[in-house]
Amino acid sequence: MIIRGGIVYDPANGIFGEEMDLCIDGGRIVEDAKGEVIDARGLLVMPGGVDAHTHIAGKKMNTGRIMRPDDARLGTELRSGVCRPSTGYTVPNCYAIGYRYARMGYTTAFEAATPIIEARHTHEELEEIPILDKGALTLFGNNWEVMECVHDKDIAKLAAYVAWGLRAARGYGIKIVNPGGGEAWGFGSNVKGLYDPVPNFDVTPAEIIHALAEANEMLRLPHSIHLHFNNLGKPGNYTTALETLEALEDIKPSRMRQAVHVTHMQFSAYGGTSWRDFESKASIIADYLNKHNHATMDMGQLLFGAATTMTADAPLEYGNARLTHNKWSNHDIELEESSGVVPMVYSRKMLVNAVQWAIGLELALLTEDPWKVLMTTDSPNGSPFVNYPEVITLLMSKPKRDSEMATLHGELSKRTSLGCIERELDWSEIAIMTRAAPARILGLEDKGHLGLGADGDVSIYNLSPHEVDASQEHATVKKALAAAKYTIKSGTVVCKDGKILATPRGKTYWVDAVAAQADMDRLMVDLQDKFERYYSVQMSNYAVQDVYVTNPRVVKAGLGAGPLKEAA
């Protein structure tokens, strides 16, 4: 396949809006190719989009679907052509997830949170999602074995457990959600801060996070720890955010990447002492990130309208349910986690929601280096992913932000600095925040760029980047981003003019990390005891079998994995 004459943005390879041809053969970018010619003359061309943090599969997602038939009916699209029927808006069915991401030019999406014991379910759903390459992060932050290793300061055994857990879950990396809080929720309480001990385990969230970061680097995992802070979603929590980031300054990354990725920072950049005096502290967070290089983040942008909040932060969800008097699902997971799901509507009339909306944008605009901040909505927590074009246009257009702010609460300008921010992102920066940076942050070498050997994932938009002024013509930009002219996945046109033409099966990434045998042996003694006494399933029935990952892409890590190729 030859993609002819596009205006290409490939920031990972230093290409910023150059007219050039791209060739794909055997599913990869090559020097030269024959076959189908795609006319992209004058059009915006970028690598396929990569979403490093989204909720697309597993128990939480299905719980959201089951409790929300009201949401399912909103997104109904008929079965037609190669497509099975779509339903849902905030909690779409598996098919809709694949089609809608592909329609926007995305080709890769990572599920953000899976407990090991429920990973089989996650993979069942990932397998049903068409087109996309995907992976799932594995939850470790409230796991008994983790806390016991942390308590014993036994990082080697912890690393062995992480390796074992990733393999059992066919998981990609370490996700930590409200560390210690999930365990405390087992008896209905929470941890209050980074140094508040976890009941019954005599460890602090700070210790858990730090130890997991050490284990992460000991195993040379492709991704860093992926962290959802304590106290998330609470006024005044920016201090927890800063404290946590400071506590990780000494972590030496084992690869050329961050030491910690902080997810949906919007929910952790809150000032004030209550919802009454709630205000943005985005500038302080951005300032910290500008001065330090060990951390990256994603926005977790919130948009007005319907959302479904779903997180392993179960106490937060109970709070949400009581606050909004909405439906509440909770799911505690033996020895490992807890979680919750609550539907939500963010209202333009609510000052709190307006401030939240502004915080996400401030974070992205005040952080100078676009490689440090990803465009996400923590879908469907801040808003469903189909609204990414709205977020991108807000980032690219000051007039759009101003006209939006004019419709919001009058107090807003006192609570955030968004109105004073002149910065408008350009296509290079957007390409970084939606393609190059998520791939690099995740450690996906073949994604997010268009260099030789990269995956043949390309998105082409019906938009001339040199002619359209994204600042003024934001409506045109939004329309173009919502329905790609072409989405090409591994060299196959999967979507043309917003219509799905093919639904190939995507790959599932997982990390096979090797730990020292002696540590693994010590670990097994612990685990056998846990399965005999505490788990409700047998150890032999626990791990995800190969049959659940039919198109795996195994990334080797850990001991003996050899020096890893670095991203450009």
């Binding site: 409790m67 929300r68 038939p69 009201d70 949401d71 009916r73």
Partner: protein, 256 residues
């Protein structure tokens, strides 16, 4: 007024979904165009004229100038007058499920019985049923917070269970009895029941329910004073206190 008559050509076995039976759809179309409209019978898409005799005045008009008369047994025809905004629909017989669903204006009259989900999520207009209505009259869809938000439903016979579930506004009057749980999670509408019912106003937070017959009252209702409405004495209750509700429930004295 432009009059259009629709009548089944033969008894209907597999139910028909005919959301096009609405003044809003018919008004701007010629008779030929109307006859070409699709309805669904199971997985078969059919022309309306395959299943129904359709006759009426020609002339493109506005919905409020359109009178639709459905003659015969429409009890297996669903979604009659869905979303209608104006005009009239008279069913000279019984109507199937979801009649007047999401209705916004105009008038729907049903001479016979109405099946379940009559006036589901209705926002305006009026519905009158001479016979009985099924379950969920004036209710919402599964999982939604709001059912009927406005308009009026009058049922001269009995109503089924879950009458006005999640009611957010509007008035429902039932001359006869109502099934279990009328006005459950009522958030601001009014329900009048001429006969008896069971457990009215479960989790009601706002709104009013008046029962002239017998009704078992939930433990979350606080007994207040006796009041007189329209010359009759009623026991007033406030609730449902399980939800800190401020709804008002009136049950005619001597009946509970």
């Amino acid at each position: 007024m432009r009059n259009i008559i629709v009548a089944p050509l033969a008894p209907i076995r597999i139910s028909v979904e005919a959301e096009i039976l609405s003044p809003d759809i018919f008004a701007p179309l010629s008779m030929e165009q109307i006859c070409g409209l699709d309805v669904w019978q199971g997985n078969r898409k059919r022309k309306i004229s395959d299943l129904f005799r359709v006759v009426g005045d020609e002339g493109q008009v506005r919905p409020e100038e359109t009178a639709l008369r459905l003659e015969g047994d429409f009890s297996r025809v669903k979604r009659i007058a869905e979303g209608m905004t104006a005009g009239t629909v008279d069913v000279i017989g019984s109507a199937g499920m979801h009649a007047g669903n999401n209705m916004k204006g105009g008038k729907l009259s049903i001479l016979g019985n109405a099946d379940d989900w009559l006036g589901r999520e209705m926002r305006g207009g009026s519905i009158a049923v001479e016979g009985n209505a099924g379950n969920y009259a004036g209710a919402g869809y599964r999982g939604e917070k709001c059912g009927m938000r406005g308009g009026e439903i009058e049922i001269r016979g009995n109503a089924g269970a879950y009458l006005g579930e999640h009611l957010c506004g509007g008035d429902i009057r039932v001359a006869g009895n109502a099934g279990d749980f009328p006005g459950a999670a009522n958030q601001g509408g009014t329900i009048f029941i001429g006969g008896s019912t069971h457990l009215p106003g479960a989790e009601m937070t706002k709104g009013t329910i008046i029962v002239n017959g017998k009704a078992k009252v939930l433990p979350g209702y606080q007994k207040l004073e006796i009041v007189t409405i329209g010359g009759e004495k009623y026991q007033k209750y406030a609730g449902d206190l399980v939800e800190n509700g401020k709804g008002e429930l009136f049950i005619r004295t001597g009946s509970s």
